[in-house]
Symmetry: C2
Subunit: 200 residues, 2 copies
């Protein structure tokens, strides 16, 4: 049976099976597709994977993913620099942007506080947040962590740190279904959540 399938094809199927929710059948179908597709299409995909790993890094200012030195949001002169939106992951920025309800800058924590998984404040970009608020004279921090237990606990932790600095701390609210992750929220829900934010 081994000799019936070229080794490089078996290896591609194996690699594809490491992707989330890709089993043997899907991996085999994808591998044959890549074998039959135009040479250009297949090599473009391979190059896109390489590029993403070679070019993308965290923005030194906000932690957003970028292939520029500083990300396009931080260098956008039209954004309100006195307004910060705190998110767990860089992937959370795009849905907030799509809601078109926020014109400030972002700060990516790189996770949430989680005693169970051993994530403490030192593991997140919290010192950088405090320093940034102080340095830039930020007037409002909108906390857009998930509305689950860890996201709420992180929001309250940040509020206790930020309040003494005299900054307004708000929390996205109405519309976000309680217990769900920010990652799965739709644009309308997120828009309403941002519009209805309230003081903490």
């Amino acid at each position: 049976v081994a000799s019936a399938q070229p080794e490089s094809l078996s290896r591609l199927i194996e690699r594809l099976m490491k992707l989330p929710s890709v089993g043997q059948k899907t991996a085999t179908r994808l591998a044959y597709y890549l074998l039959r597709a135009s040479r250009e299409e297949a090599l473009d995909l391979a190059q896109a994977i390489v590029d993403v790993r070679e070019r993308i890094h965290a923005c030194p200012e906000c932690g957003n993913l970028t292939d520029l030195e500083t990300c396009g949001l931080c260098t956008d002169e039209a954004r309100d620099r006195k307004l910060l939106c705190v998110v767990e992951e860089a992937a959370n920025i795009l849905p907030v942007e799509r809601s078109r309800e926020f014109r400030g800058l972002y700060h990516v924590l790189g996770g949430v506080l989680s005693p169970l998984r051993g994530v403490s404040a030192d593991d997140l970009r919290i010192p950088q947040l405090l320093e940034r608020v102080r340095r830039e004279g930020v007037q409002e921090v909108v906390i857009a962590t998930s509305s689950n237990v860890e996201g709420e606990a992180t929001a309250h932790y940040l509020q206790r740190l930020l309040k003494p600095q005299g900054v307004r701390v708000t929390r996205i609210a109405a519309g976000l279904p309680v217990g769900s992750d920010l990652e799965y929220a739709d644009e309308l829900t997120l828009g309403r959540a941002l519009a209805g934010r309230r003081d903490m």
Copy 2:
């Protein structure tokens, strides 16, 4: 919104969306997975795609996919060289091999006759099949094309060509659900289909 996502990430999502049954949500999830996975895992996948395109070609003898000069089946001394199994595509060889009911060699047609799609005998590896049967003194040709209309028509066409050469022509039969494609058959069904083959 554009500046919220690195260009190389958008491009990877775009490329992934070209894969069969991969929509925007799945492509985004896969792209972020590749961004978070170990560098080695991501680059290995990219290299596996490149390798498949650089190394794999059709075996000059049987048309099977291979990254060797002649495929591993054609050079396997233990196979019965007087027995040929005719399949539509190279991808059909693996399920037949898995049935463990066949110990001969293969011949890949590269499709089926289809007047509707403009595929005639000249577009398939049929002259090579006739020449091979003559040259190698093949005693039996098992036709394992799909059991749909085009597969059956192709089988009958081949039978009419091969019979005058004095070769036994058989057709895989019992077990393969009528109207279905060979690609989706399970190993047991294929095994029974091979064991129950009958003269045409």
